[in-house]
């Protein structure tokens, strides 16, 4: 029996969905202009108030249409690695983990101070993630404050020192990850315009847009803005991803009491309405395109106004939201294994390990958040390797106590072993012991201190994690990309940098015009 935790009764899931459908009619959902046309052509009533910027509107989406879109949404799909192998199964109760994203700060493991994250940090995160089997996917984990444009991707990573425009920070992260990893990638764009370049980059990596569609390497997080708002950017990304056939992961982040009802059940209901609206847009744009029922729901901290990602109620929200998605037969995602602590300390360990276990027991397909500190603002590679241990334990727990599987015999539980050794207690000598201990027990890396008494001086977990990171980085091998692919990467990055530079210059010009008219 595989252990599972469920927080919602079937009756409660029914009520949540009924109210979510009601919310989609009243008060309805705010949508960007890209969505207005699409929804209207499907017969949805969309009010657009005169003079509203960008023609945003309020859509009242009928349940009938949502049900039709739910019916066309796939129940599962795979992400593929660079070798074209299935690496992540979005569907059923399969559980995968990836590092959280997207931070702008790193915790320096020596000084224990935060500093802006740089390219070398992202590379290190990718290297460690690449070597750890606990992470089925990479993420574009940090923004690189030092992003420099290279004219020489073909020849190592030397740069010409030209700063990448801030507007392509999202593309730059993906470029760094693709250059250093073969694993699938959980990513996302920072603007409606930024998505195209990122999809092009992935298509170049896969060989062609069709190949990317058939064997997607990446999933894109797309976020509504609670409450009940699919902004221009979010609407655009959903539609563009659907049409490109690249998987989209809806990451709705209602904050219970702040941007959503204070009750956990109320927030789960709002989350459901937001994701249902997103799925409707997405499936209207391209029926059958892969989509994930995801989220980063959290409670709202009534002292600071922050989102405590390590709170047990935050974990409960993630579990409950995923349960609703599972009820609808959709692939699921959640945001766990993060902490509110600023340091790699006992609180970080307790909160992250707890939610890793809960997420695994809830059967959430993709769980993002490992490595993150300070809610979701700061990244630590050392925490990432500690979290990997928690994740391994969570996987072990989720396998449960196995009897009669292909590995563990079921004829007897203990009597056959006693028949061999009587009362001698010589279990270590038994062939069963040697054959089975590796699957019965998870053997942690030296990050977890199980050293015998007397192995002094005792070290703390951060010290052991530092050593582990160094070991993993030295084990890491950079994938070799063909010159052809690198040349295509170069062309895309140059094109996007030029586009962004022109946009920046134009916004500068606008300032000039504004000044001149004063």
């Amino acid at each position: 029996m595989r252990p599972r935790i469920q927080l919602l009764s079937p009756d409660l899931i029914g009520r949540i969905l009924r109210e979510a459908f009601e919310l989609l009619i009243n008060p309805g959902v705010r949508v960007g202009s890209a969505a207005v046309e699409l929804l209207r052509s499907a017969g949805v009533e969309v009010e657009v108030a005169a003079g509203v910027a960008n023609n945003h509107g309020v859509a009242r989406i009928p349940e009938r249409l949502v049900q039709q879109c739910l019916a066309s949404a796939p129940h599962d799909f795979y992400l593929y690695n660079r070798q074209g192998e299935k690496a992540v199964h979005y569907g059923g109760d399969d559980v995968h983990f990836d590092p959280g994203s997207c931070c702008v700060q790193m915790l320096d493991p020596e000084t224990l101070e935060a500093r802006p994250s740089e390219t070398r940090d992202l590379v290190r995160i990718v290297q460690v993630t690449e070597t750890l089997p606990q992470f089925a996917a990479q993420s574009t984990a940090v923004v690189c404050s030092d992003a420099l444009l290279s004219n020489s991707l073909l020849y190592n990573d030397a740069c010409n020192g030209k700063h990448a425009p801030g507007a392509i920070a999202d593309l730059y992260r993906l470029l760094v990850v693709l250059q250093h990893s073969d694993k699938p990638v959980v990513t996302g764009s920072f603007s409606a315009a930024g998505l195209e370049g990122m999809i092009d980059l992935l298509a170049a990596d896969s060989g062609s847009p069709d190949r990317l569609r058939q064997q997607p390497r990446a999933v894109f997080d797309v976020c509504p803005s609670p409450p009940l708002n699919w902004s221009e950017f979010g609407s655009h990304n959903l539609i563009d991803l659907a049409r490109a056939g690249v998987p989209a992961e809806i990451v709705s982040m209602p904050l219970a009491g702040g941007t959503a009802p204070v009750t956990l059940a109320g927030s789960v209901t709002q989350h459901a309405a937001e994701v249902l609206a997103g799925i409707t847009l997405h499936q209207l744009a391209a029926p059958g395109a892969p989509i994930v029922w995801g989220g980063a729901p959290a409670i709202f901290d009534m002292r600071t106004g922050g989102a405590p990602m390590g709170a047990v109620e935050t974990a409960m929200l993630n579990m409950a939201c995923a349960e609703v998605g599972k009820h609808l037969g959709l692939p699921t995602h959640g945001y766990l294994v993060a902490t509110d602590s600023k340091l790699v300390d006992a609180q970080a360990g307790a909160e992250s390990a707890r939610s890793a276990m809960l997420g695994a027991l809830a059967g959430i397909n993709m769980i993002s958040g490992a490595g993150m500190l300070e809610s979701l603002a700061r990244f630590s590679v050392e925490k990432l390797v500690i979290d990997a241990e928690s994740i391994a334990s969570a996987y072990r727990l989720a396998r449960g106590i196995e009897i009669g599987s292909d590995k563990v015999p079921s004829e007897t539980l203990a009597t056959a072993m006693f028949a061999q050794i009587g009362l001698s207690g010589e279990f270590l000598k038994l062939k069963e012991t040697r054959a089975l201990f590796r699957q019965e027990q998870h053997l942690p890396s030296p990050v977890i201190d199980r050293s015998a008494r007397g192995s002094e001086p005792a070290s703390d977990v951060l010290t052991r994690a530092r050593t582990r990171v160094d070991e993993l980085v030295s084990k890491y091998r950079k994938p070799s990309l063909s010159e052809d692919v690198l040349r295509k990467f170069q062309a895309i990055v140059d094109r996007e940098a030029d586009r962004a530079a022109v946009e920046e210059a134009e916004s500068g010009k606008n300032v000039g015009v504004a000044q001149a008219t004063k």
Binding site: V104, A114, G166, T259, M302, R303, T304, G305, A377
Partner: protein
Amino acid sequence: MSDPLFEAMRQSIIDGAPDKAVELAQQALAQGLDPLQAVNLGFAVGITFAGEQFGCGEMFLPDLLASAEAMQAAIKTLEPEMLKRGSERKALGKIVLGTARGDIHDIGKNLVATILSAGGFQIFDLGTSVTPEQFVAKAKEVDADIVGVSALLTTTMAGQKAVIEALDRNGLRPRVKAIIGGAAVTSKWAAEIGADGYSRNAIDALELAKNLMGKVDSKDMNKRTALA
């Protein structure tokens, strides 16, 4: 004009009870009490206490918001009489607020607006995803003392820098002070982009704004009535 009345006013704000606050304000007017005195000796004492309680973790955001709303209700009731007597409560300063370009998260900004308004500032709220040009235009239009830019996302923080640069380009600083806040923002970032101030929460924002007003070399500073 009794102490129990002031005490009840204070309590109505601490309890976050707008109806009670309005009732007490009306009672004060009926008794012919100077409305400015009702504010300074009654209601404002309550909001200051609420701020302190929030600061030490005894009161929480919903409590504080309710107190601020009760305060606004009381002031609104007293305002016509204050105008009549020519003793209207002078705003401590004019503050233009908005979230950074591309950022539509406004819960923090709204809270700051409420607290600053209850604290005696005149607020011009530009809403969400505000461009640097819009901030500059509004600051000029209303002759603002302070411009506040909020950013929740790490990706929109750059918009705060853009506002400060635009204020500089238009020659508005140092007369106009620029303050920033938001979940992703740190004092380090504030220093890096040359902001005049940063606060972690709405109550600190009120202190920050008051302190900054103390630094404004404005001739009419002495005309401003400090609240509480």
